[in-house]
């Protein structure tokens, strides 16, 4: 009896001490971790919009730039249209760009990305899948430059169907179709679905987005 009591007391004290230590560490480190996550988002946004920025800048510095509205050249703005997060930027060569956040289920986990369109809100400037847990070497290749490059200059509004279709490798024709990845049919189908969904929403809100973006 005395023995079990000692065991219970020991376990309780150990548990409380360990938990307290971790809670304290979490409390101290949380601001840094949140800054990292926020800065990561801006790195993705700048990357897809082609905004020049120092890739090696520390998270805190990058955030300070963004908060002071002094993001690399002060021209990226963030708006929300009908629940869609949109980042606009005046690109020196490509003109006005709109980066729209999209998300959807992947094969193994959620996929999140940014679809970046030119000023006509139809032609693709760039695309990024910054969060994904697809099969390494197969589905995960959607994050690679080869697959992403296939979207460049395609159009999301063609032949009344809307969106860009990811076809069997080699089967893509026309400017609203791209080749998929061999061995990653399931991932490609999911990507197809989420790009079509975001394209449809962009079409529906076209006027509002152009207005919000201040298409001057």
């Amino acid at each position: 009896m005395k023995d079990s009591l000692r065991t219970i007391i020991f376990a309780t004290v150990l548990g409380v001490v360990c938990a307290g230590l971790l809670a304290a560490a979490n409390h101290v480190l949380k601001p840094y971790q949140e800054a990292n996550a926020a800065a990561e988002k801006w790195r993705n946004v700048f990357g897809v919009l082609g905004v020049p920025f120092d890739e090696n800048a520390a998270s805190a510095e990058l955030l300070k730039l963004v908060r002071s509205k002094g993001n690399p050249d002060g021209k990226v703005s963030e708006t929300t249209v009908n629940g869609m997060k949109i980042y606009t930027y005046q690109h020196p060569q490509a003109g006005k760009l709109y980066a729209v956040e999209f998300a959807g289920p992947g094969l193994w986990g959620p996929i999140e990305g940014l679809l970046c369109l030119k000023s006509d809100l139809k032609t693709v400037f760039n695309i990024a899948f910054y969060k994904q847990e697809e099969t390494p070497g197969l589905g995960a290749e959607i994050g690679g430059p080869a697959f992403r490059g296939r979207f460049r200059d395609k159009t999301i509004a063609g032949s009344g169907k809307g969106g860009i279709h990811v076809r069997k490798p080699g089967a893509a024709s026309g400017n609203n179709e791209v080749d998929g990845i061999s061995g990653a049919t399931l991932t490609c189908d999911k990507v197809d679905a989420m790009i079509n969904a975001v394209s449809r929403r962009i079409e529906e809100n076209r006027a509002a987005i152009l207005k919000e973006g201040g298409n001057e």
């Binding site: 065991t7 360990c18 230590l21 560490a25 990292n36």
Partner: protein, 226 residues
Amino acid sequence: MSNLPVACGACQAGGVCQGKGLSTLKSGLWANNPISVQVLGICSALAVTSKLENALVMGAALIFVTGCSNLFISLLRKAIPRKIRMIAEVAIIATFVILFDQVLRAFYYDMSKTLGPYVGLIITNCIVMGRAEAFALQNPPIVSVVDGLANGMGYAGVLAVIGAIRELLGYGTILDFAVLSTSWYVPNQVMILAPGAFVVLGLLIAMFNAINAGKGAADAKPAGGH
């Protein structure tokens, strides 16, 4: 629960554990190296060694965790009730692992993303638990810390060697500095992938065995592992 006479004679005799400390250090680093001799901790040794930098950070994590957990488990060795000793060990180990992971996330975000779940998986690393069970529970704190650090360094050393070989052959770089110019060297993709890790680790263990067999090292006990 008392100290094993063989295990800590020198330590109690006085001094700063000269004899015992040194042999403990040597045992962890070489004669009983956790990876090449005991074949423990292989999972992470294969998974995070595609670049030297990753291997070094992972090694540092293990040195920190084995050192700290051995210290605290040794300090508590007479207080831990036998029935729940393993749970107590895991709680202590997990605390330090999560601490390291949190610091990494706050101050070394890119590395934290690269290492992904492997830092957290140190909790289940056989080396840490093994040293706690086999050493820290029977020995006083100072020599336990030496044992923890030695085993951590033994692990880190092997990881660094594998990481260096794989990065050199797979990317042609060491710590991201170009060593083999791509003008004449074609990076060998297989070294970055899992098979490359198996090949390098296998050759390394064979080399260790050959050297130890040559020396007729009596305290090298090859054992099956995880």
